[in-house]
């Protein structure tokens, strides 16, 4: 599904990713952990095609195709989804309107018919109930005045509707209390499927108690420096990142 080879990327001439190698096979959930400033969020932006990041070397193979030159919206339609650490607010645009615009834009890009309103509403209803997202919340402007938990639930709701092949979750646990964390994690777990890969970026191990990964990678100074099973997360929790924090960027 996702194969990253010797990826180097910089922003404003400063190199942040310094040779990332990573393979996430179809259907697997991998976690990336690491100290602050190790390049985790940069990796999520480079994978999703955010402007301003220069890929200076290496490849990102998604379903076998190099997507380095592909614009962000095309990657989205091809099935790359990023759950933002800080979801953005769009005043005056109802959440429901945004969901419909996004879903139909992707369907159109893939040459599929746009959904009819009843069909769309039905899908939203099914997905929102699972995530405890109320109709009232869907009518509010996108993320405006949402609590931390509401924002993250809204991200997972978008993921459920857009049905990506690769979901990147950037610090999805930040700003969540225990109950919200459980709801969000259950939502993510419900979306695990043999056809979908996930890359869970987190600073803390507690998220991985709920979303148990197939593999854990440790990132430091712009590289993947260690890879192991779920037990690696527990080790990091106990020992901290001191061993890896040699080269902050």
């Amino acid at each position: 599904m996702l194969e990253i080879k010797n990826l180097h990327a910089s922003i404003d001439g400063k190199e942040i990713l310094r040779g990332v190698d990573l393979v996430v096979p179809t259907g697997e959930v991998h976690a990336i952990m690491g100290p602050n400033g190790s390049g985790k969020s940069t990796l999520s932006y480079v994978l999703s095609g955010r402007d301003g990041y220069d890929v200076t070397e290496g490849e990102i193979l998604f379903d076998g195709n190099d997507i380095v030159e592909m614009p962000a919206e095309e990657r989205a339609s091809a099935g790359v989804f990023l759950a933002f650490q800080y979801p953005l607010e769009i005043p005056g645009v109802a959440t429901m309107t945004f969901l419909k615009a996004a879903l139909n834009a992707q369907r159109k890009a893939r040459g599929e018919a746009e959904l009819t309103t009843p069909d769309f509403m039905r899908r939203v209803k099914v997905a929102s109930e699972k995530l405890n997202v109320s109709q009232e919340m869907l009518r509010r402007p996108l993320n405006v005045g949402f609590s931390g938990g509401e924002k993250k639930r809204n991200e997972i709701l978008q993921m459920a509707l857009l049905e990506p092949k690769l979901a990147i979750l950037d610090e999805t646990d930040s700003g969540l209390d225990i109950d919200a964390l459980r709801v969000v994690s259950e939502g993510v777990n419900a979306l695990r499927s043999p056809g979908r890969s996930m890359l869970v970026i987190t600073h803390y191990q507690r998220l991985l108690d709920h979303i148990v990964p197939d593999k854990v990678h440790v990132m430091s100074a712009g590289r993947i420096v260690r890879t192991g099973g779920p037990e690696l997360a527990l080790e990091l929790e106990a020992k901290g990142y001191a061993d890896y924090a040699d080269e902050p960027v």
Binding site: G49, D51, G52, E73, E89, G92, T97
Partner: protein, 492 residues
Amino acid sequence: MVAVQETVDQVRQIDVDQYKYGFVTDIESDRAPKGLSEDIVRFISAKKNEPEWMLEWRLDAYRRWLTMTEPTWSRVQYPKIDFDELYYYSAPKSTPGPKSLDEVDPELLAMYEKLGIPLREREILAGVEGASDRRVAVDAVFDSVSVVTTFKEELKKAGVIFCAISEAIREHPEIVKKYLGSVVPVTDNYYATLNSAVFSDGSFVYIPEGVRCPMELSTYFRINERNTGQFERTLIIAEKGAHVSYLEGCTAPMRDENQLHAAVVELVALEDAEIKYSTVQNWYPGDKDGKGGIYNFVTKRGDCRGDRSKISWTQVETGSAITWKYPSCILRGDDSQGEFYSIAVSNGYQQVDSGTKMIHLGKNTKSRIISKGIAAGRSDNTYRGLVSAHRKASGARNFTNCDSLLIGDKCGAHTVPYIESKNASAVFEHEATTSKIADDQLFYCLQRGLSSEEAVALIVNGFVKDVIQQLPMEFAVEAQKLISISLEGSVG
């Protein structure tokens, strides 16, 4: 950064040449000789078969105008206007006041159809059968004359008078005499005085006591003729307890030279009356290099003369090379209310200096101002507003919210509020924000699969939503489309 940059580049390239109403109608016209003099004023008055008092009124205005100088305080720049190079009267030749649509030049009807303004009542009726509340009566003003007013008979049954102002001067002189110039005095300002001297047509609306106008009224203004100034005059009177909703729309052909539009609109609301006045202004804005376009120098004012009366202005301004206007409310009656909702979009080299004045004179008067300015390209967008409370205006309340949205880094947004209170119990609130469409906001949308054009459209529509909601339903859709077209290049 790069995504926004692309949008900015696209906006920069925008051809204002995409203006979709820029065609010229080939129609023979009857014009007054070029330039302005007492003779021209007499010529216009004679053309309209006006009574003597009206001619005197015009001549008085003309003589006063000669003693005035053009104001220069606005934040707009334009070369000096040579008033002797303009034509002050132009009428389609074939229509010296047609009695029915059959007498209207088919070229004209075709033009209005092209603009999406149906003038044939039969067709309007056929189109919306069973939805009688959706009908809109239209007064179509072409250059200097009103060519047709629809649904007149039906309105007459309700006691509503809706006709060209030239007709009202002849048919209802007692009402016109009483109210004309009572809200915008002849000497109010340079352009209002000029208008008083040479106004050629416009709409007249009279809603009798207790009547709720049975349909939306609208006037459609079209400037066709080259080098012609359009000076229309609109007068709306709502008697005690009357209600009316009125909409005006405007377009003009693409011409290289600038055209002057200096209108005066006067609204009078008596006790418990309510007037809602909506404008969708889409005059030709000039080409991508800023050549041509309409100078829109307009005086619009409403007088809440009676207690508990209410006047509401809603405007969507996307056109004109220069827009210079301040639809205002004089809150004279106790407990009267004034509202101003505005969306001003500027692109290319357009300049906008617009806002409102809320003059609180009566007790417990309330006003509300919601202004949304969107600047793109190399345009300048200024909100200028006055809120004032007279000494006797105890309990006056105002809430003002001015938001500006910038697209790109070559445009400007400015907010110039004037707030004056001579009464200690007045409460005035002012909020203002200026924002840019942020990179991360745009990226968020792109990541969900929207193109940058769709993303900007979505964000802009969210930004103007509070004002769009104030428009009558039929026009809200039109306004949204218009905003999209105006920002084309950045919006899909």
